[in-house]
């Protein structure tokens, strides 16, 4: 038996394709739970999930909180936005304080890259990264995979164009990694200033022509991240100019293409309102997927709490049923 290491979900690199498959299938199992009369299962009864959000969030924080509640866990939500003290020190103190409550899982969103890793080091809980700066947002990738498969019935060889501000986007980083891992075909489309240099090493293609969107089954629109752009840095000439060249509007799409966006949307900038509200938009399905996928992530961490032994088990038996 290998050395047992506590499992976390800090980035898509913590998962292999079998893990992703299992989480997506578990999420499908939760669909029935969230639709029936009693929308709750006792799976995590008596366990504690802490949601620690240092950045504003509507869908991610609410969906993690509801996911934990649907699993009967006790939840503590801490919004710690806007602290001016030294980020490293204050984070550590906060984590040590929350750790005293003996949480089983800490979900953290933080503006700084690596905050989730530090949380994993400073606490005794399983840590889920709900977004750290422009680094990773793995549950977004998992819910996007879930929503794509639910709509298209497959993942392998699905052509995705990720459009817009890739440079500042943790969603793009997680999605490129996870989409490539699951066999999707990824093209990054946007002005060169917003595409990180060397990104081709991930296996994604780069196109600096908006026409490249036409090839895609899925047009994945990224939000223009004003808040991560330093004042005076001119990544795009003007938002109006950006919208004209790169904005995804109805006339840009061909029938059958689907459009995704991680939210919140800047309507009229990266996505036109006619597209956002159309049948091609998967945005609301992404939110629905977020709930069951986050339930599945919490479930997966608690049922497979360590890395070493789980790997051994998988090698020993392909399948094992309940007694």
């Amino acid at each position: 038996m290998g050395i047992a290491t506590r499992r976390h979900l800090l980035g898509m690199g913590d998962l292999d394709p079998a893990d992703v498959e299992r989480i997506l299938e578990t999420a499908a199992g939760f669909e029935d739970v969230v639709e029936r009369d009693v929308k709750k299962v006792p799976t995590l009864r008596g366990r504690t999930v802490v949601n620690l959000f240092y950045e504003s969030s509507t869908r991610t924080s609410s969906s993690f909180e509801l996911a934990a509640k649907r699993l009967s866990a006790d939840t503590v939500s801490v919004k710690a936005a806007g602290s001016s003290v030294d980020k490293g020190e204050s984070l550590k103190d906060t984590i040590r304080t929350l750790n005293a409550y003996r949480p089983n899982i800490i979900v953290i969103r933080h503006p700084h890259i690596g905050a989730a890793q530090l949380t994993a080091r400073w606490s005794d809980a399983h840590v889920v990264n709900a977004g750290d700066g422009k680094h990773q947002h793995p549950t977004q990738c998992l819910l996007d995979l879930y929503a794509i498969r639910k709509r298209l019935g497959r993942l392998r060889d699905v052509k995705v164009a990720i459009v817009g501000d890739v440079l500042h986007s943790r969603v793009a980083r997680s999605n490129i990694e996870g989409f490539r891992m699951m066999g999707l075909d990824v093209t990054l489309v946007g002005p060169p200033a917003l595409i990180p240099p060397g990104i081709e090493a991930t296996g994604a293609r780069v196109a600096d022509d908006p026409a490249a969107m036409a090839e895609a089954d899925v047009v994945y629109v990224l939000r223009m991240q004003h808040e991560r752009m330093e004042p005076g840095q001119n990544f795009v000439p003007t938002l109006r100019e950006y919208a004209r060249v790169w904005g995804v509007s109805g006339r840009r799409l061909r029938p059958g293409q689907i459009v995704m966006h991680p939210g919140p949307m800047n309507r009229g900038v990266e996505i036109a309102p006619d597209v956002a509200d159309s049948g091609a938009s998967l945005v609301e399905h992404q939110v629905e997927a977020g709930l069951v996928v986050r339930m599945a992530v919490l479930y997966d961490l608690m049922t497979r709490p360590t890395i070493g032994e789980v790997i051994d088990l998988r090698e020993r038996t392909g399948e094992w049923g309940a007694a």
Binding site: F30, D32, V38, P42, T43, L44, P305, R316, W320, A323
Partner: protein
């Protein structure tokens, strides 16, 4: 006779399984003259094909197709958050299946169907799961085999075969629908999955 390590013995062959399920079917019919309230609910994974086969037997003898549902107990396990191996008898479930209870549960006669009754923990979880879909009038349990070693006050109402076993032994159920063959085996303690969570269809 306990089987030795790495040895296995056939406890029920395909024909015996067929006759056993037919008998369970007629017992259910005898016990429930108002058959239209009966709802067979298989516990995933092997309880589901067994429930379907019992339904087919009942259909043959009475002409009535009782509804068959499926319940997945993964989310009702009592060992979530425990160290793996802390209790390897309610073993890990790699794939969570869907719970399908299309017929109303409210005031129904629910007959849970499973392959092997062992500790009773799976059945406890299945009862809890069913109650989240409504309040049945009666819940009963039908199993292909009862191997003893209960850890909860649970018994089966319809038992295909009582199998006295050593706790170290494993009962492995294979069904055509899931494994390509119908047989119930007793496997010795030294079998390759012995010190790990149970192999497919074992209890």
């Amino acid at each position: 006779m306990p089987v030795s390590a790495s040895e296995s013995r056939v406890l029920l062959d395909a024909d015996q399984i067929r006759r056993t399920l037919a008998r369970i079917g007629s017992e259910i019919v005898e016990r429930h003259p108002d058959l239209d309230r009966v709802h067979l609910v298989g516990i995933r994974s092997r309880g589901v094909p067994l429930a379907e086969r019992i339904r087919d037997r009942i259909l043959e003898t009475t002409g009535l197709a009782v509804p068959v549902g499926a319940v997945d107990i993964s989310f009702y396990r009592d060992d979530v958050g425990l160290r793996p191996g802390a209790d390897d008898r309610i073993a890990d479930h790699p794939v969570v299946g869907e719970t399908v209870l299309d017929a109303p549960v409210e005031d129904a006669v629910i007959v849970l169907v499973d392959d092997v009754l062992y500790t009773g923990r799976t059945v406890r979880a299945a009862i809890d799961a069913v109650f989240d879909y409504g309040r049945p009038a009666v819940v009963q349990l039908a199993v292909l085999a009862d191997r003893g070693h209960r850890e909860l006050p649970i018994r089966a109402d319809f038992v295909g075969k009582n199998l006295p076993t050593q706790e170290t032994e494993r009962v492995r159920v294979r069904l055509v629908e899931t494994d390509g063959v119908d047989e119930v085996l007793l496997v010795g303690a030294g079998d390759d999955t012995g010190d790990f969570p149970l192999g497919a269809g074992e209890a």
